[in-house]
């Protein structure tokens, strides 16, 4: 059995210093972090985009990623959705006494790899170790800082009738992966999280098309919840075409078995982009040139009818409301 984390390693004393040097600095180190002052000195050009998020996912390792890479991707993506270039991350760890040190090492290494790929630097951090039972293995908080590169920045308030809604790829992959692994379920075909940093793709998009009105990553609550938020923020109606919404067959059938709706499942590597219809073809072509946007397509449009609501046109030509999720999705009885 590997070594386990001790309360001493969060005490601030020598044990803590050794943990920081052996794990965190080794995997996340850079000249700013290496100065080890109380705060990091940075000189970004304003205006800035700032976002913070806490990650408590269970299981902490899943096909396609882990809590560490997720903590980088999630915050990088939130910053990127303002059309910003993410530059820096801070991270806070709450660790449970007894947590396997090998697992911690694997998670921090994965964070380092994700940060290098996204070209962001981890410039400050904090570690607390809490008594066994006071936390579930590992919680990570990350804060991201990025420079705004277009003005006005994309925002959920800027959707207008006449815009189209584009999605960068298939939906529900991450949510079904995590849910099925939490329950120990497996499907005939493997499902894998889409966990990825989207900042390089969003930069290409906003630089190539400064007319992007909205960029959002449909994480918790999925496409349905995110698109409802946009409809409400912008006070517009949205009509989505069910047949155009990409869902992988394995995700669709997994959801069918569990009584879940893929449109409400979390995604960690997808973009919703809203922009005037005349720019749709160029946006799709930019997205499709990037591996993360290969399956980009138009899934609907912004309208003036039914402001604040999302209507789904079904494959049969019928329609129904696509509302926000109430609480969490739970498996059904039959």
């Amino acid at each position: 059995m590997g070594k386990k984390l001790l309360l001493d390693q969060g005490s601030g004393g020598l044990a803590s210093h050794r943990l920081v040097a052996d794990v965190f600095v080794r995997h996340l180190g850079n000249p700013i972090l290496a100065r080890m002052d109380d705060a990091a000195l940075i000189r970004p050009k304003g205006p800035l985009a700032v976002s913070t998020d806490s990650f408590t996912v269970d299981p902490i390792f899943f096909p396609g990623g882990d809590i560490g890479s997720l903590a980088v991707h999630g915050t990088v993506n939130d910053v990127a959705m303002l059309g910003a270039r993410p530059l820096y991350l801070t991270c806070g760890f709450i660790l449970e006494e007894g947590f396997e040190l090998d697992d911690l090492d694997r998670i921090v290494a994965s964070m380092g790899q994700a940060a290098r790929k996204a070209k962001v630097k981890v410039i400050a951090g904090d570690t607390k170790v809490v008594p066994r039972g006071a936390a579930d293995k590992i919680f990570i908080n990350t804060t991201g800082i990025g420079e705004i590169v277009v003005s006005p920045a994309p925002s959920g308030h800027r959707a207008r009738p006449g815009d189209v809604v584009i999605v960068s790829g298939s939906l529900g992959d991450h949510g079904l992966t995590v849910l099925s692994h939490r329950q120990g379920l497996s499907f005939e075909a493997p499902v894998q999280s889409d966990c990825a940093s989207l900042n390089h793709l969003t930069l290409k998009l906003v630089k190539g098309l400064p007319v992007v009105h909205v960029l959002r990553d449909p994480t918790r609550g999925g496409l349905a919840t995110t698109i409802n938020e946009i409809a409400q923020q912008s006070n517009v109606g949205v009509v989505l075409e069910e047949q155009a919404i990409p869902v992988k067959p394995v995700v669709a059938s997994g959801c069918e078995i569990l009584g879940l709706d893929p449109l409400y499942l979390a995604n960690e590597g997808k973009i919703i982009c809203v922009l005037p219809e005349k720019h749709a073809a160029k946006a799709i072509s930019i997205m499709r040139r990037d591996p993360l946007g290969r399956d980009a397509r138009v899934i609907g449009r912004i309208v003036s009818d039914n402001p604040g609501k999302v209507v789904l046109r079904t494959g049969l030509g019928g329609h129904r409301l696509l509302g926000m999720l109430e609480g969490e999705q739970l498996p059904r009885i039959c």
Binding site: L185, G317, G318, R320, E326, L330, P331, R332, I333
Partner: protein, 368 residues
């Protein structure tokens, strides 16, 4: 084209819709979809928005959570308070409000030990891992789920487990349909029969009802073409005046049902009276533990009793479940009663008719 794609094919669906319109000439058809999954499928697929106005659909008592009586909810919420009890349940019941406003979700926040399971067999694993505690599985569901619960109880007996119990709240569909049809206030002219339940019981139990009340009935699947074909068959039988029971879901449902599942079911359980929300006691519409399995009955073993509960004030779930009132005509609908603040279980269950109307219906105003 896969068989699923074929059942969702817009052209085929449009062709059946046209046939429905032709078959409906001069008649109105008030059909009831018995099963909550059918209600959701009608809305989710958009079929509901495409049907001619002469097809009036009534939602029935086919959501297992919705028909769970207040007294039953109160009983398991009481049990959840015990320190030595772990409640194991399907997720659907977590947010169902009890008579005092409590729910399993709230009980969990207050410290009750509750495990959401995907199968009753998972509850058995909980029992094995917690030998010092009493694990009570909430046996909600119709003929579809009851055989699996029965198999779990049988396994618990074989393995000599003495800390696993079931609250048998199971309900049987045919006696409930009989009770609905015998009510003079009802004006049902066709039944879309539940696919999953029928896979277990087959067609036989429905035939006496079709004959006694002269009502067309079609066992239906859950894809758009399944739903539309069932409506077409009901309309044609009605027009021809030749009501009978048709199995239009042969890819899943055998006419004779599943005798193996029924054998397990009736080894562990025997028919008994059951309380239905909004309807009351229906004789022979429930399942009670047979004598050989009494030690696994939470009522007996843990001394639980069903106590009389006053219906929730203003809640019209009963009329909704009987198809007398469409969900959106309930005075509480989308006002006091929403998915965030459900007054009755029909608004909170994923298969509840009120929840389906609220979730999928674009216009929430009464009568729409």
């Amino acid at each position: 084209m896969s068989s699923f794609d074929s059942l969702r094919d817009p052209d085929k669906c449009k062709a059946v819709l046209k046939l429905i319109e032709e078959a409906m000439q001069g008649q109105t058809l008030r059909f009831m979809e018995v099963c909550g999954t059918h209600t959701v499928a009608l809305f989710r697929s958009g079929v509901h928005s495409l049907l001619p106005k002469s097809v009036v659909h009534l939602t029935g008592p086919g959501c297992p959570v919705c028909v769970t009586h207040d007294s039953e909810v109160a009983a398991y919420l009481e049990l959840a308070k015990r320190d030595d009890v772990i409640i194991a349940t399907f997720g659907d019941l977590m947010r169902v409000p009890g008579p005092g406003g409590g729910s399993l979700k709230k009980a969990q926040a207050e410290g009750a030990r509750i495990e959401v399971v995907y199968s009753p067999f998972d509850a058995l694993a909980v029992a094995k891992n917690n030998p010092g505690d009493k694990i009570v599985f909430l046996g909600i569901g119709f003929e579809t789920t009851a055989p699996t619960v029965a198999a779990t109880v049988r396994l618990a007996k074989e393995q000599g487990l003495s800390n696993f119990f079931v609250m048998p709240f199971h309900k049987l569909v045919p006696p409930a349909l009989d009770a609905l049809l015998s009510d003079p206030a009802m004006a049902i002219e066709g039944f879309m029969l539940p696919g999953h339940v029928s896979a277990i019981i087959g067609l036989e139990p429905y035939r006496p009802l079709a004959e006694k009340y002269g009502i067309p009935a079609v066992v239906a699947g859950f894809e758009p073409l399944d739903l539309l074909q069932a409506i077409l068959l009901m309309a044609e039988m009605k027009r021809q005046g030749k009501p009978r029971v048709i199995n239009n879901y042969k890819r899943v449902v055998a006419d004779e049902g599943n005798p193996k599942a029924r054998a397990i079911l009736y080894e562990v359980y025997k028919p008994g009276d059951a309380l239905w929300r909004g309807i009351g006691t229906i004789p022979g519409s429930g399942l009670v533990m047979s004598d050989a399995y009494k030690p696994f009955d939470a009522f007996d073993a843990l001394g639980v009793e069903l106590k009389e509960c006053k219906p929730l004030p203003g809640c019209r779930c009963g009329e909704v479940l009987k198809g007398i009132m469409p969900p959106n005509q309930c005075p509480l609908f989308a006002k006091a009663c929403t998915p965030a603040t459900p007054i009755g279980p029909c608004m909170v269950s994923t298969e509840g008719s009120c929840a389906a109307y609220h979730k999928y219906q674009l216009d929430l105003s009464p009568g729409k």
